[in-house]
């Protein structure tokens, strides 16, 4: 092989190696950071492995919100109208958190069967229903009308 060919081949191999390492690391990072989503029925049915961090989506059950007066702790129940999961959260709830509205919470189920949420997201406009909530209601066959929003914080325009 001529020297300049060898040099060229060398740089191509080097780039290919670099790219495959990058791709491998990317896929590894992706795999580590996937958040699965479960509906209240799936949680009640025991489909969630113990101790797994996941997202749950559903409606806030009417009359279920119990706030403590002297702390930021709040308890409520999320439902897909078939099964219910109690949620505990410490912090300030989003602006649009209300009874009868769809929410998505992120966290783990503790030994008492209460979902300890580290984050609670609510819809951010009237036509907004998070895809997770919508999917939960669809899966349970209790879907109401409503167009779909993003899970994120930003309103669309």
């Amino acid at each position: 092989m001529k020297p300049h060919r060898r040099k060229k081949l060398g740089s191509i191999l080097f780039i290919a190696l670099g790219l495959s390492v990058a791709a491998g690391l990317t896929l590894y990072a992706l795999k580590q950071n996937i958040n699965m989503f479960f509906t209240p029925s799936q949680v009640a049915g025991g489909e969630v492995p113990k101790g797994q961090h996941f997202r749950i989506g559903g409606m806030v059950k009417d009359g279920s919100i119990a706030r403590e007066d002297d702390s930021l702790s709040v308890n409520f129940v999320t439902t897909d109208f078939i099964s219910e999961v109690p949620i505990h959260y410490v912090g300030i709830l989003p602006d649009l958190f209300r009874e009868g509205q769809g929410i998505v919470a992120e966290g783990v189920v503790d030994t008492a069967g209460v979902f300890q949420a580290s984050k609670v997201l609510a819809k951010h406009d009237e036509n907004y229903m998070s895809p997770e909530v919508k999917a939960a209601l669809d899966a349970a066959g209790t879907s109401t009308e409503g167009s779909l929003p993003s899970e994120g914080y930003k309103p669309q325009y």
Partner: protein, 666 residues
């Protein structure tokens, strides 16, 4: 009547765009100067009619014409006037009209500021942009007409603009972002024109660079404005959420950044030609992808796209036709664009290639993380989300690597640089950066942390190597002033933009390390300590605004015994839509931000609230401002304004001369 006139203006603009997309391109292919000459007047016409449609929609908003569906959905009689004027881009249809209007504006700019380019090139650029506009206008007229009426009975009042949008950020962020986005269509058209003509040389790169720089600068500031807006309005204490809405602009920006560096190599050395064209296509594809993701319903659910496919499929068709067509043209023509010169393993070309690789890999990983949940859902029907840790894990090390290369790039030489030269140049710079990295955070916080050390070291590396490079350039001049004057504007632009990178690195990294936040319940007179500040809750009182009611709290911030200032966070309830909204109170500062978001009232006039202390957060946007200014300063370099280079001038006069009499006769 007026909305119908607007609708009609759009149809006329479409007709003109069809002409623009055919005659000048045909003329350029056959050497017909008359057809090529049509490009500029047609562009003026397109701009006038799209502009007219835009003005008419704005006017209909101003006079509360709720018989127009779009206005009924996004305005209200109580809406403050400035939001009525800007609610034009408060929804899908109007946003798209603004987008198209921006494209028309860019086309007009190309038509006006292209005197230094040969007419066939201008005709091709404007022709390609005309074809794009045909796609956009067809999309608007077929699926998202902002002028649709509610018949027969118009409602008395509108549903109001989404309360989360009623803010200064909404006035400035979308237009800037779109303008930057659409600017990359112009660069794309330049690349297509080069492929069509088969001429891609240093002169082409010189024509292209100012446009790429300006588009990149505007996109930079557009993204920064969005980040700043989200920061102060949404009140979650962050400035970037790796949200699927904000990722596509970032992807475009990363490709664009790679592009402006690759263009430099194409201009100076005549190589990387096909790579530059590829990046122009990718940046453009990124901008269309952003539109596709947000407008198709894909973002919310794969099924939303499947149930109402009209818009999504249409944009997908535009995406496929334009990007697919471009790639096809690229495949056919790229073999013609061979570079002439080789370069060494250690050379500025190589370092810029590494810069490009890092930027493209980071763009690809952001792309993967953004689209993966959608693909996963389409394939398995399971819902997943990819959290910020993924993006941080990939993006942060890549950017650190990029900063390392950034320090070496400007100081290295074209073609071949000896390792020894670089070592003598940068050894002290590196040592000093490391020393600063260890010393500065330690001196301020009395604590060693790996993150802050690396951050300060990397930022110093950029700044010190830039100073070293400038010193080298000025060293052999008689006086400092003479040296400063001899340096081209593009050099100042580069230095400014790189300084922006250093500033942003400091802001982004240190704010994530040093920020503190705490959610508390405070009664009147109660105090709380956070990050060396004391916050005292005074009380809350009701307030009334033009279209909302609410509560306003008062907090006093103390540092030691000194009262720094009062903060007034609010909670509002918008009357028309009934949506609540939190207005945070911010004390902004160069070194740190203090801010408070109000939660809810609990028990005896106690309120829940979250208090944040965020050091260096302003540096993120300051860095973006530096980058933006750098790009604009570089675009102002006088070598871009030089008239036609001689060779092109001769070629053009030669082709025009025989046809001039014919023009005189007609």
């Amino acid at each position: 009547m007026l909305p119908e006139l607007g609708h009609f203006a759009l149809i006329l603009a479409l007709c003109l765009c069809v002409l623009l997309g055919t005659f000048p391109l045909y003329g350029a292919a056959t050497g017909n100067v008359r057809y090529m000459g049509l490009a500029r007047p047609l562009v003026a016409g397109v701009f006038v009619f799209i502009g007219l449609a835009y003005v008419l929609l704005t006017y209909s908003f101003a006079i509360d014409d709720f018989s127009v569906t779009y206005i009924q959905q996004h305005s209200n009689t109580l809406l403050p006037f400035r939001y009525k004027l800007t609610a034009v881009w408060g929804g899908h249809e109007g946003s798209f009209l603004l987008w198209t209007f921006m494209l028309a504006g860019w086309m007009l700019a190309v038509a006006v500021f292209s005197r230094s380019m040969p007419i066939e090139f201008v005709a091709r650029v404007l022709g390609v942009l005309g074809l794009l506009s045909v796609g956009y206008l067809l999309f608007m007229l077929a699926t998202s007409n902002p002028f649709d009426r509610i018949v027969p009975l118009p409602p008395a009042d509108g549903a109001d603009l989404n309360s989360a949008l009623q803010d200064f950020g909404f006035i400035v962020h979308p237009p800037t972002l779109y303008m930057g986005y659409v600017g990359f269509s112009v660069v794309f058209a330049f690349a297509m024109a080069a492929l069509l003509s088969g001429r891609l040389d240093a002169a082409w790169a010189r024509w292209c660079r100012p446009w790429a720089n300006v588009a990149w600068s505007i996109l930079t500031i557009g993204i920064a404005l969005g980040s700043w807006w989200a920061y102060y309005e949404l009140g979650w204490g962050g400035w970037w959420a790796w949200d699927p809405v904000e990722n596509p602009p970032l992807i475009t920006w990363l490709f664009g950044t790679a592009l402006i560096h690759s263009l430099a190599v194409t201009e100076k050395r005549g190589i990387f030609k096909s790579w530059t064209v590829m990046l122009a296509i990718l940046a453009f594809a990124g901008s269309l992808l952003g539109t596709f993701i947000t407008r198709s319903g894909l973002l919310t659910s794969v099924h939303a796209f499947a149930t109402d496919p009209e818009r999504g499929v249409f944009i997908l068709a535009i995406l496929t036709l334009s990007v697919g067509g471009a790639l096809l043209l690229f495949a056919v023509r790229a073999p013609l664009l061979r570079g002439r010169f080789g370069f060494g393993i250690l050379s500025r070309e190589m370092l810029l290639l590494v810069n490009n690789l890092i930027l493209v890999v980071s763009a690809a990983s952001v792309f993967l993380g953004t689209l993966f949940p959608m693909v996963y859902q389409a394939l398995t029907d399971d819902l997943i989300s990819i959290g910020p840790p993924y993006f941080n894990a990939i993006f942060v090390p890549l950017m650190a690597l990029l900063v390392l290369v950034l320090g070496v790039g400007p100081i290295s030489r074209w073609k071949k640089t000896s390792g020894r030269y670089l070592t003598t140049q940068l050894l002290w710079v590196g040592a000093l950066s490391l020393a600063l990295g260890i010393a500065l955070p330690l001196a301020v916080t009395l604590e060693f942390g790996l993150g802050p050390t690396l951050t300060v070291a990397l930022a110093s590396w950029i700044v010190l190597s830039s100073i070293k490079d400038a010193k080298n350039k000025l060293g052999n001049k008689k006086t400092l002033m003479a040296g400063l004057r001899a340096l081209p504007l593009s050099y100042y632009g580069m230095q400014l933009a790189h300084l922006g990178v250093a500033t942003m690195v400091v802001g982004a990294a240190l704010t994530s390390v040093y920020s503190t936040e705490k959610s508390v319940l405070l009664g009147p007179g109660e105090r709380m300590d956070l990050g060396g500040y004391e916050f005292e809750f005074i009380g809350a009182k009701p307030i009334t605004g033009p279209n909302f009611r609410g509560m306003e709290a008062t907090l006093e911030v103390y540092r030691g015994d000194e009262l720094l200032r009062e903060l007034h966070p609010e909670r509002r309830l918008y009357l028309a839509s009934g949506t609540p909204s939190t207005e945070m109170a911010i004390d902004a500062g160069f070194w740190r931000d203090l801010f408070v978001t109000l939660g809810e009232e609990k028990g005896a006039s106690a309120w829940s609230m979250t208090i944040y202390v965020k050091p260096f957060v302003r540096w993120v946007w300051l860095g973006a401002i530096f980058m933006c200014l750098g790009g604009i300063v570089a675009a102002g370099d006088k070598r871009y304004r030089r008239a036609l280079d001689k060779q092109a001038a001769q070629k053009q006069t030669a082709s025009i001369a025989p046809l001039e009499p014919a023009e005189g006769v007609s």
